[in-house]
Subunit: 285 residues, 4 copies
């Protein structure tokens, strides 16, 4: 199976490498060419343009920064027009359900297949092929990328709703941990011990352990997921919820704290820096 892979950023690069190593014939494209070049060592072919990457592919994977980039490559730069009739376009980026629906319509109108398959996991999970994939369709390539694939139905947009609400739960957890750590620190309790207690019992989950240790150690750099990307996702959550008249007050609150983090100059840090905002608001540091 030939795979066209567009977008070799922090997540896409290790994903594309795993596909190469799993034996797929992978053609990669990235706007900043230098970020795609290392993949040639794993057997990838470098494309000159999005359409060049798409031409002969059975499966085209895109994992670009946001809605705008995804729409540009697909509809303006000609990805959709260059897809062969039997190919499937698998969009693994975190995009809005609204764009997902527009892309579904455009592909359907052109007689092509579109699958939304966003992933949960940070770059190290991508490297270890331990991503969780939430798809609204299915495809053989997923096995090379993830630990498990959840199929949430036939509407691609449904997968995007699940992904976004998952990121909302993460953002909410980070904010809550930040507030809790501010309280225990100002009350004289050791943050590391506190982390050990909460993640040994009720919250013995990867997300709490991972983000909890980042917060307890104030290790916001290098970023695993940069603040502006977190803000973008929370904005998409709110837009998606607004479209169906769902108030999400915790998401609103987190958005305000993320904005304040931006205003404080933390745009190059991990979005867990929300905890620093909570600490500063409590007079710590």
């Amino acid at each position: 199976m030939r795979i066209g892979f567009i977008g070799t950023g922090a997540m896409g690069e290790p994903m594309a490498r795993n596909l190469c190593r799993a034996g797929f014939a992978v053609t990669v494209y990235n706007r900043t060419r230098s970020r795609a070049e290392p993949l040639t060592a794993d057997g990838a072919r470098l494309a000159e343009s999005p359409t060049d990457a798409v031409r002969d592919a059975d499966v085209v994977i895109t994992i670009l920064a946001d809605d705008a980039a995804t729409e540009q490559v697909t509809l303006v730069d000609g990805l959709l027009a260059a897809l062969s009739p039997d190919a499937v376009h698998v969009c693994m980026a975190t995009i809005s359900p609204a764009l997902s629906e527009r892309l579904t319509e455009a592909h359907t109108a052109a007689g092509r297949a579109f699958v939304a398959a966003p992933v949960f996991g940070r770059p190290n999970a991508a490297a270890d092929a331990k991503l969780s994939i939430v798809a609204a369709g299915d495809s053989a390539v997923f096995a090379a990328l993830g630990q498990r694939t959840f199929v949430v139905g036939e509407r691609p947009a449904a997968a995007n709703v699940v992904k976004l609400s998952g990121n909302f739960l993460l953002a909410s957890m980070i904010e809550s941990l930040g507030e809790a750590f501010a309280l225990v620190r100002k009350s004289g309790v050791d943050p590391a011990l506190y982390l050990d207690i909460i993640t040994s019992t009720l919250f013995a989950a990867p997300a709490y352990k991972n983000y909890g240790s980042i917060i307890a150690e104030e290790r916001f750099s290098p970023p695993g997921f940069r603040l502006p990307l977190g803000l973008k996702d929370v904005r998409l959550v709110l837009q998606t919820a607004e479209a169906v008249n769902v108030p999400m007050p915790v998401a609103s609150l987190v958005r305000d704290q993320l904005l304040s983090a931006m205003a404080r100059g933390y745009e190059d840090l991990d979005w867990a820096v929300l905890a620093r905002v909570a600490a500063e608001n409590a007079g710590l540091e």
Copy 2:
């Protein structure tokens, strides 16, 4: 070792039973006597008053409803005055750090030992001796009650801070899950599938599985932890944080939603009914 056990409510009753079965000599007291009587079948002796329960005990455990009841029994009804010189008073209720400090001072002034040892876990965990105990001291009795005991230092109030902030994390998680479920339900995603996805990966933790299934199935009755108790704990969190000038906006938000749940007449339901408030605010049901 002789144990005096005061407060045989939803949590205390199974805890006292486990102590009997572990071979301790347990004397129980409960204001509503009928709630303590079944324990005589397990070998407990029934006391006529708090002081009667305390008289010969090596360890006195109290697990009462709130600050007011704990203060009343200890300082007004004579528990402290009746403690023998070598006895330890172990307070396992969720009380405020402020009361914990007052009780520490009172016991110290009287030459008696006071330990705060609040627990994480719902009644079924109490029955299975699977509670997690957060203590600021230690005692041999803990092994019969819990899975694991965390010692957080010498100031009893520190244990109460940890307990309260743990309950805050739970409350925050419930609210966030409520908002997320409102979003996915209005977006046409199956709640059970959504729960499966999030608890298989990032949030594979007991708290998410337990409360997530309550919310997905809207199973708010019978309550494991009643709404007014949840509101009481969030109020204690806010008071504790205010005393050290820590703003906790998620706690404030959750308090408002809990109050609205009270105003909607849900006081006899589990505090997970926060999710119903989120759903109703989104026009569901």
Copy 3:
């Protein structure tokens, strides 16, 4: 002076009538033609299209529903292209500063003048020529429309920021009044007396008197300013603030309550129905 007037809705219709009565030669256009027809009785000429309304005008006023309609008429339907070289396009709608900037650039590139001049006031103030106009430029027509014109500089977008933040203050006031009335009603204080007290002293301002009486009397219909328009404006406030990294937590909170009002089916009521949401959340009604 010849005026082209596009958009004769709840606000535009009385504004256009006042211009006619003040002696200007007014040509009106409205997409739904029947809403413009009554103005012919005051001497207005009916245009067949936006460009027809614009052709010979010295001043073109647009006051359309939102960003999308304003952009469509100006850039797509040909208003800008049809403007004569000396004409001024005065946009009196509540639009985003971002669109205001795009329109400023487009007019400048075409050698035409663009002024943003949003208004404060409800339809009855429009009828009485008592609007307050916030302009980033000036024009003789304003005297016929408003009580007072404030000039906020040369950048049209500045006028839009002022208008939007004014609407934010209104929205915030409504929400706060809603919460205060819920408290006093549940405390057994007469709402009418309460309104009299607060508007006799500290808050002796038109906005408090007007909205306060709507809330005290629960008179949300007929709407002076419909809920979806209020939601649109708060959304614009949040977008504008996000563009400069300004968190506005009260605006976020109000947005959530407006969304809940939408979810409760109140879309045809005045946006003061926020107070009913506050009352319902407190268990009233």
Copy 4:
């Protein structure tokens, strides 16, 4: 008429002076004696104790810092016991409705009259006899103190609810103005011009003009109403609302911002410093 006046702080001192000048026989008491002494120049007699101030008075006015001080003086230090049978105790402090009810009961049981009559206005309004008094009873002394007296019924606690909800509206206005000014400042609009616009029209009210100019000029010192007093009042609002199950999300939000102001070290500034918190959270200053 002989008046006993207890509490000659920032508000009480000018109020007592006006009573002297209006010809009443006033006996004053203040815990810090030096703060009461200047009043002797206006004819006041200095009492040695609260009971000394109360003994022969027809009317006793108390305006103390908070619930604790009011309760101490009235019930512990002997004010109530020393009241003559025909005297009226008029409590003009901002206290909780709950304390107001306890004091009503205590006075009734002792056969004495109790009136709650909290005031709106800052120290300069007190000096000018321009306070607004919200009373749940009436008394001839009010004319010497205020511009207007509103009688809200027979239950003293009702006056306290009105006073507290008025302070809530002020706090909410300050927070909203703070957010609005952060937005306009970061958008390049002159704050003084902005203030002129909003207070010329919709919000032409004393509260907006007064606090608006404090915020526009960042004039938070000397304080007219200190931050900790503002926090105390918002706390009372939330407690009062909680007692009747009324969620007040704006009050919760303001409380969090006030707490952050405390944590930032602003306890000696005017509570309008909320606007500085909003500005700092937006990266200004």
